[in-house]
Subunit: 347 residues, 2 copies
């Protein structure tokens, strides 16, 4: 594939508002966000209207909007982190960037603020190379290339479906790790983007991501919800489940997933110790979830992301459903999400 | 697995001497190399004795030594880059580090010289994690850990068999890429080590590597030789072939391969344009070599690196032998290497 040029009009920045006042978040991102259309989805559990500063081109969705569109669905919940999925559902744009509302722009090692959106768009507009590993990382970065031995037939690469950014300061550890190493902050700036190889699963974090909504949008599905889900990242596994779903679909459709740059700066919130009980459930289920996703092979007839997610939903129900009712609910939510996705797009 | 502590006595540094005077190379590395036993293997094509400065603890092997040990083998050639494999064969140590003789210590972004040997030994003594991708790279680096969602059952990891370092200044491109971008130097210092996922093939470069000779030594095999092999890196594919062999064996034996730090500084030599004809053959064969290695599944009875290499040799002969006589010769060399390996170790 050739490198695409992405116009700003092709991009929605989707923010799930979990805190009642977005002022400091939005001001920190103003130079970047003001160039794009924003979709802000207010967590339906928030009682009051979210406070948003002036001067942005945005669409705000609230509980009433969610109920109007998705009121009839019983399996899908858009509360907490999952509120952003309503923005993905409603977006008409080709590309979506989504950043947690407790993150501000990070600085590169030279002290310059990092434009995370620009880096995600670079990642999405340059090819991914999932079928052979390039030791010098992303060959499409400036000043890099394919190393000796890289087959020429694989150098054109494939389209990049998902760009997973990283985090400085507060890293995305689970609660047990946070409790064990309370002072451990991520200060290592790794100046690289790489394609995660085909058939390799990774824990995608929803903190700081960009994706091609046309190619893979339906696979970003608000399906997996812990019984004691909280509104701190380490109290949820929704994004981890979704990420494995996206990876399986991308592998099947011969699309790429990249990980690495851009970084955002994550601010502290919450108490790891208090979260430990909630998270422990999430940690435990990964022992079943990861082998399940690693084993999935989709049928040749699954030609779109919608097809793939529907097929995965059936597999979840059949293979995991009996183990824990969480999985049965996730399967139902996936099936219902695909219906909703098609319905919104048929209007 | 737990982290090992490697003693200096467990390490051989193996240098293939392709140039007649190692003085500047050895002086550049003196603070590092003087702590270890060195094995220097003189390229048998060199006419005069190689010049080596005083003050190192070393064993030097020359053409006559090679003939004494391996004189009866007809398929294996130890000339050019392959001379270092004679050092691997003769080493009695658990760990081997090997660095090309046109490389000197690189500097980190703070200007401090990088101790490449120490970093390789760190990579080899800490676990590898080939069964799930960690987005914050090597979780065993200082200040890093496993991210949220990483299954706890996979966090112990497996032993690391091979550590592949990288190169600043002259990157390891093939001749066509060098010719197209003559001014492109690698200046990007990526502060990361990562485990290359299981079942993902990579182009291992022999420029700057460390490995566990006990676990994987027999898989570093001087087998693949282009008809017009030269003594510039971009005129050989021996290391690329060997690397895929090591990766297949490591995947089968549930061992890990890491890539990333340490960097070395590669100095210029040779003309890419003059090499283009030789290299072109190497570039072309990768179109067959990569799918071949990607498709290999070894039998359950293959329990050691020797077993695995013998099995791969049979597959090479059967599946690739008819296409190009280079492959038939490589298969013969692999079979003969395993015989030689066992013979030397039985003495």
């Amino acid at each position: 594939m050739s490198e695409a040029v992405i116009k700003n009009e092709e991009v929605d920045i989707v923010i799930g508002a979990l805190q009642p006042d977005l002022t400091s978040f939005m001001e920190a991102w103003r130079p970047v966000f003001s160039q794009f259309h924003l979709i802000i989805v207010q967590d339906p559990d928030l009682k009051d209207d979210v406070k948003i500063p002036e001067g942005f081109n945005l669409t705000l969705y609230k509980k009433s909007d969610i109920e109007k569109v998705a009121g009839s669905t019983s399996s899908i919940s858009f509360s907490g982190f999952s509120c952003r999925y309503f923005g993905y559902l409603m977006s008409k744009k080709k590309y979506i960037i989504s950043i947690d509302d407790d993150c501000v722009p990070a600085k590169d090692p030279n002290g310059y603020p990092i434009d995370a959106v620009a880096q995600h768009l670079t990642n999405l507009s340059t090819p991914a190379t999932p079928f052979f590993f390039n030791t010098l990382y992303d060959p499409f970065c400036d000043g890099s290339d394919f190393v000796r031995g890289y087959p020429f037939s694989l150098r054109t690469g494939v389209e990049c479906a998902l760009s997973c950014g990283l985090w400085l300061n507060l890293a995305d550890y689970d609660a047990p790790t946070q409790v064990l190493k309370p002072d451990q902050k991520n200060s290592r700036y790794v100046d690289a983007v790489l394609t995660v190889p085909a058939r390799t699963m990774l824990p995608v974090s929803g903190i700081n991501v960009g994706f091609n909504n046309e190619l893979i949008g339906p696979a970003l599905v608000p399906a997996f919800r812990l019984a004691k889900e909280g509104n701190l990242r380490w109290e949820t596994m929704e994004d981890i489940w979704t990420g494995m779903c996206v990876k399986v679909v991308s592998d099947h459709l011969r699309l790429g997933v990249k990980s690495g740059l851009p970084y955002v700066w994550r601010k502290e919130r919450g108490s790891a110790v208090a979260s430990l009980k909630k998270e422990w459930e999430g940690v435990r289920v990964m022992e079943d979830v990861v082998p399940f996703f690693q084993s999935i092979r989709l049928s040749e007839t699954a030609a779109t992301a919608e097809d793939c997610v529907s097929e995965i939903a059936v597999l979840v129900k059949g293979r995991l459903g009996a183990e824990n009712e969480m999985f049965g609910r996730a399967a139902d939510a996936m099936a219902e999400w695909i219906k909703l996705w098609k319905q919104v797009r048929s209007l």
